[in-house]
Symmetry: C2
Subunit: 260 residues, 2 copies
């Protein structure tokens, strides 16, 4: 499964044979965050993404009523090809099913949003630390006190992911991730967590805590889990997303996400 091609992995997910996280699967292929909303909310949400490109870089949008991401994975089915889903109703997380066919509706529009897994491979290729991979856990993510730019009915806090590094490593990581504009790009903050309203690095709001070693500073990137915090704040009647870490694996190559 580790070296499966994306189509084979999605088939295994669809068959219920893989329901776990996707970190490290199909190396070299872009993984994506999922957001599906009723068509009535879709224009406001797309405006929200365009106004907040760092947390919400849009990789694909389905036709209303279609679950096929025609640009990023032609033939795939977003109702079945994500290992675990989250259903939000009126902003409340109500379910985490392995299959979304029961809750999907004919009026939904699905959005694929870039994921930091893409640039992590570039960091690892430089020998930079990606602590949550070393520790075998999910990346720590935090709701911040930074408001996204509102658009229509959608507003809410920026969510960030965090990777500890030395200052010199943080500078190099800034250079590397700046190339990857469509997958969150450069960090949004380096250093003091309290400046983002984060009280305790050891208690992330999503994912798992990781060790910050002596001489390291926390480096924060905008995170594609932001729409889930926005759902809680903005209470759309229905939002279906992936469960954090359980991404949709596309047919697109990671290197296609590099701007230059």
């Amino acid at each position: 499964m580790l070296d499966a091609n994306p189509g084979d992995l999605r088939a295994a997910v669809r068959a219920g044979e893989h329901t776990g996280p996707t970190a490290g699967l199909c190396p070299g292929y872009t993984q994506a965050n999922l957001v599906a909303l009723p068509e009535a909310d879709a224009f406001d949400f797309l405006r929200f993404c365009v106004a907040n490109p760092k947390p919400c870089p849009v990789l694909d949008v389905t036709d209303p009523g279609s679950a096929e991401p025609a640009q990023m994975a032609p033939g795939a089915d977003l109702r079945t090809d994500v290992p675990r889903y989250r259903g939000f109703r009126g902003g409340e997380l109500v379910d985490e099913p392995p299959d979304a066919r029961e809750v999907w509706r004919d009026d939904l529009v699905a959005f694929l949003i870039g994921c930091s897994f893409t640039f992590e491979r570039a960091l690892l290729a430089e020998g930079l630390p990606v602590r949550h991979i070393d520790q075998g856990v999910n990346v720590p993510m935090y709701r911040t006190n930074v408001d996204c730019t509102p658009a229509g009915r959608f507003s809410g806090p920026l969510v960030v992911s965090m990777r500890p590094m030395t200052p010199a490593q943080a500078i190099r990581a800034t250079q590397i991730t700046s190339r990857y504009g469509p997958v969150h790009g450069a960090p949004v903050h380096v250093g003091e967590p309290s400046e983002l309203g984060i009280a305790d690095l050891s208690a992330p709001d999503y994912g798992d805590p990781v060790e910050v070693r002596d001489g390291e500073v926390p480096v924060f990137w905008a995170c594609g889990v932001t729409p889930q915090a926005v759902a809680v704040a903005s209470r759309p009647s229905l939002m279906i997303s992936h469960a954090p870490g359980h991404m949709f694996v596309t047919d697109a190559r990671d290197e296609k996400m590099a701007m230059l």
Copy 2:
């Protein structure tokens, strides 16, 4: 007027004191293409832009019914602050008024789309030739035989702008414009015009022809006039745009458009 700040220029435009092209005005401030459409077409058009980021990089989207680009120029009025407009009805160009209040409707959504004027300043700063500026004419633009990625009701050809350069200059220009992802980014083609379906460089579809000197090749960038060709192909009931070269001048600094 040449060194006016954007707010003063927009006030002069609104008062009917400036109805000409905007090239060279308010140096350092980002100029933008305008597209306004009925709300019923707005989601399809925004999906079209997201699927075609090189010709249609979205800088701002108004709330439905509002003519204020709140992110790029708070307080401005897109019905009056563009020096010359174009009105398309059912895909036909029907008018080029200096003021759009007569044709504007309460259900319109307006989009600001990045413009190559931003990266031209960076090219000039390197001493690279920008021939249409040297010749004092509008940049030559061509409809190509390259189809944009369709989205909903919108489809149509890619429009490109062209600047002649030596091959070495074209390489440097590729590096420089790659930094400016939100304003068309790197070229889409260098060399043979016929590969884009362009039969005669001396007969552009928009703007003016420019001299191509011995030893120079034509260098083509995706162009923000693309939505006007898409309007002709897709025939929305109403589209209001700027007249080519008569841009909306925003409060945003050009350097903010550089990705890194």
